[in-house]
């Protein structure tokens, strides 16, 4: 009940985190440990030829034996670049096929290009990749991605790295209500309450990077996010009380209040 299942694998944490923008690998490791995340995203980039041969490698700090690595296609604007990047990632990670697909449409907003994303997803699914897909918060597109065979849909809450929070909870709600695969909010979370709201809506998980890495104290924020995701999940499972607009309801007994010279006004 309280576990996240993606592509048949069970995870106890519903918080997924990125590994970018940290000061150094020590901070990366400390923040990721504090977040409790089991799935962590990595980017695939050209190695520095002939420079820093002894430079430490991210995978030495975050070994694939300990974490489920989720290679992404950040920075890819075409189907070809995204597909090539993930083929390289699969080779790099010894045949690991769980990937995060994003095909961007615009460098200013980093908004996803859904036409190209769908084309790339089609190719990757045919090649037996398990595709977690970054998407706009369009419920029809999200359903289409599910029907194609993506293993999770990851709508944006707001623009990547913007920290603007959940701009359209109504669309997220429609996507969640329609989905039979996990729905994870990816991008836009700024602080702990944003993550909680996403989870209270019924999201299966939240993926974030900048909200933690760009906090004044990333390790403390990672811990806050862990609790925020857990709190939101529990509140969702508990089922919130109904809102009673303009109508208070006392929590304490109304009888037995000590004698007063004034009487409470009668209810109309």
């Amino acid at each position: 009940m309280n576990h996240l299942i993606i592509a048949g694998k069970t995870y106890s944490s519903r918080l997924l985190v990125g590994t970018g923008k940290y000061k150094d690998f020590n901070e990366t490791r400390a923040a990721i440990e504090a977040s409790g995340a089991e799935i962590i995203t990595v980017a695939i980039r050209r190695t520095n030829i002939g420079q820093n041969a002894d430079e430490p490698n991210l995978l030495d700090v975050l070994p694939p034996s300990q974490y489920t690595l989720l290679p992404n296609t950040a920075g890819c604007y075409t189907v070809e670049d995204a597909v090539r990047t993930l083929r390289l990632a699969r080779e790099l990670l010894d045949g690991h096929s769980l990937v995060k697909l994003e095909v961007l449409g615009d460098p200013k907003t980093l908004y996803p290009n859904m036409v190209e994303t769908i084309k790339a997803a089609e190719i990757l699914i045919k090649e037996d990749f398990q595709v977690m897909v970054y998407t706009s918060d369009d419920p029809i597109i999200a359903k289409q991605l599910e029907e194609m065979g993506c293993v999770a849909v990851m709508p944006l809450a707001s623009l990547i790295g913007s920290g603007m929070g959940i701009l359209n909870p109504w669309n997220l709600q429609i996507i969640i209500d329609n989905a039979k695969i996990p729905v994870l909010v990816d991008a836009g979370v700024g602080t702990a309450s944003d993550a909680t709201i996403a989870m209270e809506l019924g999201c299966d998980g939240v993926l974030m990077n900048t909200a933690i890495a760009a906090a004044r104290n990333p390790v403390l924020m990672a811990s806050a996010m862990r609790k925020a995701v857990e709190a939101g999940r529990e509140a969702y499972l508990a089922g919130r009380m109904a809102k009673k607009l303009y109508s208070a309801s006392p929590s304490s007994p109304t009888d037995g209040v000590i004698a007063s010279t004034q009487t409470a006004p009668k209810k109309p």
């Binding site: 990125g18 590994t19 190695t47 950040a74």
Partner: protein, 67 residues
């Protein structure tokens, strides 16, 4: 003399080399990386048999921090 383009940079070699020799040349032994030649992945099992030819475009990638 052959020329290979490695991560966008042209490099000259005296004679054709295989991928294992290229890895040695780039001091990548023991590191986690993946390599593609002209858009096609070269699996590790083929490193010693794949000979690189003049004009080949190579991409050598690693995992880095990202979100």
């Amino acid at each position: 003399m052959i020329q290979l383009t490695i991560n966008g940079q042209p490099q000259q070699f005296e004679a054709p080399i295989n991928v294992t020799q290229l890895i040695d040349h780039l001091s990548l032994h023991g590191k986690r990386f993946a390599i593609e030649c002209n858009g096609e992945i070269i699996p590790r099992s083929r490193f010693s048999e794949q000979i690189l030819a003049h004009g080949d475009q190579l991409e050598v990638v690693v995992a880095v921090g990202g979100g």
